[in-house]
């Protein structure tokens, strides 16, 4: 797989768009989800994902080997930062509006046909609670949490993507987790089973 990916990168570097599109198909889910968790809405996430892939294609010659996944995730992360900075410069929408997904929230997939409606509703409530909690985190903690706990990347790759070192990654991760925990607890957003467990301890 890595060999195939390297071949696709090499041919794409020579201007072969189809090879690059094969890479896009490999990573678009991961990139879009990263952007969605960072930006909080589907439309901005789609724009950021497209922009990240375009930017990657245009700057593909600057890729000097190593992990293509890390390289493209870094571009996507920087694209998200750019959009967040632009939002701060033009604060036309409130934070409440941004985290109020409502009807704009992507539909949750029914993982199991045997799932009861109450379980589905609970799962949806849980997902919204976490998204809301994530949106309240500082950006540098949010990206580390997304990359580590949602995308499951190792510390060293997160350090490469965020252009930091391992110590910074560990520190941001622990603070981000603690802060998210506090947010979930304070807003009673932590699901009942977890609140119950916490209360029992």
């Amino acid at each position: 797989m890595a060999e195939e990916e390297r071949r696709l990168v090499t041919t794409a570097q020579h201007g072969d768009v189809e090879s690059f599109n094969a890479l896009v198909r490999l990573y678009e889910g991961r990139i879009y989800n990263l952007c969605y968790r960072m930006l909080g809405d589907a439309e901005s996430a789609a724009d950021a994902t497209q922009e990240a892939f375009l930017s990657s294609f245009r700057n593909l010659r600057s890729f000097r080997g190593g992990s293509f996944r890390s390289w493209i995730l870094r571009i996507a992360t920087n694209t998200c930062y750019d959009i967040l900075r632009a939002r701060k410069r033009r604060p036309t929408t409130s934070l409440d509006q941004e985290i109020d997904h409502g009807e704009d929230a992507p539909p949750l997939q029914v993982a199991d046909s045997s799932e009861s409606p109450s379980d589905f509703a609970l799962r949806r409530e849980l997902a919204q609670a976490i998204e809301q909690g994530l949106s309240l985190l500082p950006e540098e903690q949010r990206i580390v949490l997304i990359l580590s706990d949602i995308q499951g990347l190792p510390y060293d790759e997160i350090a490469e993507i965020t252009s930091t070192n391992l110590g910074t990654v560990k520190s941001r991760l622990s603070r981000g987790r603690a802060r998210l925990r506090d947010i979930l607890k304070a807003g009673e957003l932590l699901p009942a089973r977890y609140r119950h467990e916490s209360g029992n301890v």
Binding site: V17, N21, G29, D149, I150, S171, P191, E197
Partner: protein
Amino acid sequence: MNLLQNLQPNDQDLELLSAYIDDQLADGERDALEARLKREPELQLALDELRSTVSLLRELEPVPLPRSFTLDPAVVAPRRISPWFGWLRMGATVASLLLVLTFAADLAQLSFVQYTAPAAAPAPAAAPAPTSAPVATVAPGPPAPAAEPMLQTSALEEEPMNALGEVDASGAPAAESTAPAPLASAQDDAVARSGDSPLPEASALESAMESQLSTTEEMLNYATPVVGAKSPPEAFEDVSSEADAQPVATWLSPLRIVQISLAVLIVGLLVAMVVVRRRAL
């Protein structure tokens, strides 16, 4: 709850707990932390809460893609610019360099002329006397036809004469007969002065004219007869013909023609580059 909040672990402990969850601690650190967890229930509580939070994040389902993000080859394919573009760009660069060189040569020539001119002849502005003699030395060009300067000079003299007439009508009728004397040719002026010329009136008229036209003042001064000197209209024409001829010669110099040609060539090449690039899009 307040008690638990007061017993919250510090940042260092939180970092240890976080790394412990991810199995990122070294053996010694892990053993030490596990020993503390057994002794400190608040630390164990913090660990459980952090684990719950991490579990929630890991259970979060991926968001389905709204569409495909593959790129359209027609939009992002590399542009193929005609090889002509490179030649045009090189030509424009060379022409620009040549243009700069011609300007440099022009400047060098100018500075050489300025350096050598004072030694060859005094500048016209340095001529102090209003007589025609210094003017004649400044203007060594070919002698102008006599008729034309005279006509021009007489035409220029009409205005001062009108001014004289007005002054005379207001308060000095005695000067009426002598008024044309200083404004006529040098010979007429000499004749007028040899007779009973009313000099006080003439000088008054001269001062009135000074206040109206500076060029006329010069002409009046030139009208003073100097034996062997060039007549004032001739001198005036010499200066004007020199002033007219110099720009024409400068503008038609070969260097200027080369500069204009290069500028036109550069503009043409730039336009061609734009056309070639637009066709490539």
